[in-house]
Symmetry: C2
Amino acid sequence: MAKPLSPEEISFALTALPGWRFENDALAKDFKFGSFRAAMAFMVRVGFEAEAADHHPEWTNVYNRVAIRLKTHSAGGKVTGKDVELAKAIEKVAG
Amino acid sequence: MAKPLSPEEISFALTALPGWRFENDALAKDFKFGSFRAAMAFMVRVGFEAEAADHHPEWTNVYNRVAIRLKTHSAGGKVTGKDVELAKAIEKVAG
């Protein structure tokens, strides 16, 4: 089972994740795209990454915006290395 | 421009939309699927309906759950006939 990261580990991870923040026990980032289609395409691509990692985001879409929150339910809703890995995969998709 | 519906019109529309409710000035329904993949597939199909109608949901996905809220920004964030039409299209997708 994934272990919760310490505050120091989270701070260190964030240095490699531009635009991400630690908020309410989760890694969070808000994305804005040029259109609803672009936002949906992003979500589908992230969906494949999430499914492959068997680790899934909490996310909200409103038109061209996607707000993402990552935490690990099996670790008491805390941030673990799985969240950091998924955030990195999301950054690659966002390109 | 779409006109806000009256409370009576909203109540009447809800009679044809099982599981939908009127909440915080929006039409709302929470969907639960058998998997994340099924939830994503649902969102993609609804996305095509939304884009075709040029009317888009506010929605949140967590694993196999999708919470949808519909209101019309161009009508002051009130429920209009566009929301009722999109809710009907969503029901068809949910099948």
